[in-house]
């Protein structure tokens, strides 16, 4: 945590409005069954999910805790963390006074599955489930349009199905797509999102089918956490250099759980080398950092920490205080506590922007 000085915390800070831009409700396959055809239900039972890594259960890099979750987030009534709406409401929304929570459901959402049709069926199911089982019962939650991003046609259909439904806050992708996100094959997704007036949220993780780094597979979950940031740097470079924002000037991208301290240096590097090699990318009309500044928002968790808070604040300034969105990542182990994670020396206006105002404006929340 970025602790500069001790001060009375909960009483003062709990009066802040908070929009939490990253909460992970967990569906079981059983929860999704009402929204799946018999074919897909039996397919999943027989062949399982196959997500471009070899494990039938679990992940290539074992998480530090079961389901990567806070040990106190397992609901007393049973089931995995964030599977029980009442307990999630009590432990998270009510405890912190959260005004809105953007839900980004992860597994078993089928994103990046080797079978693109299964991916599409699961995306539909989890979107139905978010609305029926969560938003209808607790309107402080907003759903994500989970899309089977490797199949642009199916993704567009899913976005159009949800367009106009204010229960949905954004379109959700994972960061490790099978090709870099700027490639033409993904453009129909951006076009449909712009049409629907929805930002595109990119949450870290997923498996692209390629090694997790340009130098092969790392060994540790610790490294996977680092590589979530490097992968995001690569997808941003791709989107800008392919000219996505020249083609879709209204596209808004939200980077979720990517951290943010690396963002200014990426912009500087892109600018410097674009300047030298712009004849290769004549469709990129402006310095890359300008697209970065205009089209990207970034969630705060996992909040970078440093013992010189003023340097973290430098970085926030370089990004823009209107571009940072508070996120807790509930119920995961690396949860950022809404009361503790921002540098205490930030002014009230900046805190309000990060905790709520930026998200309200971006997502057009009441």
């Amino acid at each position: 945590m970025n602790i500069e000085l001790k001060q009375p915390l909960r009483t003062a800070k709990s009066k802040l409005s908070i929009v939490d831009c990253d909460i992970h409700p967990r569906a079981s396959l059983e929860d999704l069954r009402p929204y799946l055809s018999n074919h897909w239900w039996h397919y999943i039972q027989t062949y399982g999910l196959r997500q471009r890594h070899g494990h039938v259960k679990g992940y290539p890099f074992p998480k530090p805790t079961p389901l990567a979750s806070r040990r106190d987030s397992w609901p007393p009534g049973g089931g995995p963390p964030a599977s029980d709406l009442d307990f999630t409401r009590e432990q998270h929304l009510d405890f912190y006074g959260i005004e809105h929570g953007i839900m980004n459901p992860l597994a078993p959402s089928g994103q990046g599955d080797q079978n693109a049709e299964l991916s599409a069926a699961l995306a539909f199911a989890i979107n139905e489930w978010q609305v029926a089982d969560w938003v209808r019962r607790e309107p402080r939650f907003k759903a994500s349009v989970v899309v089977p991003y490797e199949d642009a046609v199916a993704s567009v259909a899913e976005i159009r199905r949800r367009a106009g439904n204010r229960d949905f806050a954004h379109v959700l992708l994972l960061s490790r797509t099978s090709e870099a996100l700027g490639r033409r094959r993904y453009w129909p997704i951006f076009e449909a999102a712009v049409e629907a007036g929805l930002p595109v949220g990119v949450h870290v993780f997923g498996y692209s089918g390629w090694a997790m780094t340009g130098t092969g597979w790392p060994s540790f979950y610790l490294e996977e956490g680092i590589e979530n940031a490097t992968t995001t740097q690569q997808l941003i470079a791709s989107m800008i250099m392919e000219g996505v924002f020249e083609r879709y000037p209204d596209l808004k991208v939200v980077l979720i759980e990517t951290g943010f301290a690396w963002l200014p240096a990426l912009g500087w590097r892109l600018d410097k080398h674009w300047q030298r090699m712009r004849d290769e990318v004549p469709h990129v009309k402006r310095p890359p950092s300008e697209y970065l500044r205009e089209h990207f928002w970034v969630s705060t968790q996992p909040m970078e920490e440093t013992d010189k808070a003023e340097q973290l604040i430098d970085v926030m300034e370089w990004i823009g205080f209107d571009r940072l969105l508070f996120a807790s990542d509930y119920p995961h182990w690396d949860f950022d506590d809404p009361f503790l994670s921002l540098p205490p020396s930030l002014s009230d206006a900046r805190r309000r922007a990060i905790y709520a105002d930026n998200a309200r404006a971006l997502y057009r929340l009441a």
Binding site: T215, A265, W274
Partner: protein, 360 residues
């Protein structure tokens, strides 16, 4: 700016292999013949396409379009114009790309012999890095042992991206040799292309490839530290060359935070990664990725360590215009450290060759 007669030590210059024929005298009969009979054209790497702007500054290219093809050429620019006293040659000819281990060993040996003969022998201000065949660890160690007695070799050279991350235990005999001979491990931008340069496959544009080098460095620093290399080899130094530099502070904040949460996974990492980096890692100066002089100064502050930057021109790569490779905005006091003191402190063999420096 001088220090005992030293103006600056240029820690990253790139001799160009003008043609594969140049290596002929240093290859066995079988490989000389293979070049002819199999039509092997070149081992130049796509990391630096010969005509790309990054590969050579236009005013440094000769009539044939190539730059840095002779010791005299480096002398003219690096010693005469930039006033360096010593320069370390890092040859980027793509021997790391070769898939056949035997061929890789043959060409790597030839390259090191060519560097000694055609460069080091022709100008006593030149030093060089030992290029190693990472295709086979045993061969890499043999190559270090073969070249290390020549004290003009001051470092071991590997690429930022290869088949397997550098921290992996399989490479540790190389680090034992590095420690034994007091040779820093120099990691330079570039890839052996065993994988696409991104986790998202092969990028469309070359500029993405070059930008992605900075992510490759992050992966290697994470790997070297996480695997425990510095617990095992406490004297090992690592120099990141042509990395872009300014990605480092944000990367370290993230890495150190995750380490605090996850250190039971890597119990041999017994202190924050940022401390390990400040002790063991150094970075060459060019390119220094920032837009303006005021941000150069802030970015340097964020490094929080005056010992880390080593002067480099990156000649003949086109990273700056004019005749001063030091970016505007570097504070004057730090400039002196970067030009001479930090390089001398990093490269034991420079220190040992100049006892008057060691005494300071």
């Amino acid at each position: 700016m001088t220090m005992n007669g030293l103006h600056s030590i240029d820690c990253d210059v790139h001799p160009t292999v003008p043609d594969i024929q140049a290596l002929f005298p240093y290859l066995d009969e079988v490989w000389r013949e293979s070049i002819e009979t199999r039509g092997i054209l070149s081992l130049e790497s796509a990391s630096y396409p010969p005509n790309a702007p990054i590969t050579a500054r236009p005013d440094w290219r000769g009539p044939d379009g190539q730059a840095a093809t002779s010791a005299a050429d480096i002398g003219r620019h690096v010693f005469d114009r930039f006033k360096s006293s010593i320069a370390i040659c890092n040859c980027l000819y793509g021997v790391q790309l070769v898939l056949n281990e035997d061929m890789a060993v043959a060409f790597t040996r030839a390259l090191n012999d060519w560097i000694a003969k055609e460069w080091l022998d022709r100008d006593d201000r030149l030093r060089a890095s030992i290029v190693v065949p990472m295709q086979n660890v045993e061969s890499a160690v043999e190559e270090i042992e073969r070249c290390a007695p020549d004290r003009r070799f001051v470092q071991i050279l590997v690429l930022a991206m290869q088949e397997v991350p550098l921290g992996r235990r399989q490479f540790w005999p190389i680090y034992a040799a590095a420690e034994r001979h007091k040779l820093p491990l120099g990691i330079h931008a570039g890839s052996s292309y065993r994988h696409p340069v991104t986790a998202l496959g092969w990028p469309t544009y070359y500029v993405e490839d070059y930008v992605a080098q900075a992510q490759g460095f992050q992966s290697q620093v994470a790997s070297l530290i996480s695997e425990g290399v510095f617990a095992k080899f406490p004297a090992l130094k690592v120099v990141l060359m042509e990395s872009g530099v300014t990605w480092l502070p944000g990367f370290l904040w993230r890495f150190s935070k995750y380490w605090r949460g996850l250190r039971t996974e890597v119990p041999w990492v017994d202190r924050p990664p940022e401390e390990i980096v400040r002790e063991h890692f150094r970075l060459t100066l060019q390119p220094f990725d920032t837009p303006a002089p005021d941000l150069v100064e802030r970015a340097v502050e964020h490094l929080r360590c005056d010992d880390m930057l080593l002067y480099s021109s990156d000649f003949p790569h086109w990273q700056f215009d004019g005749d001063d490779p030091v970016p505007a905005g570097i504070p004057q006091a730090l400039r002196r450290k970067i030009l001479v003191e930090n390089p001398v402190a990093t490269y034991d063999r420079l220190k040992a060759d100049r006892p008057e420096e060691a005494a300071r």
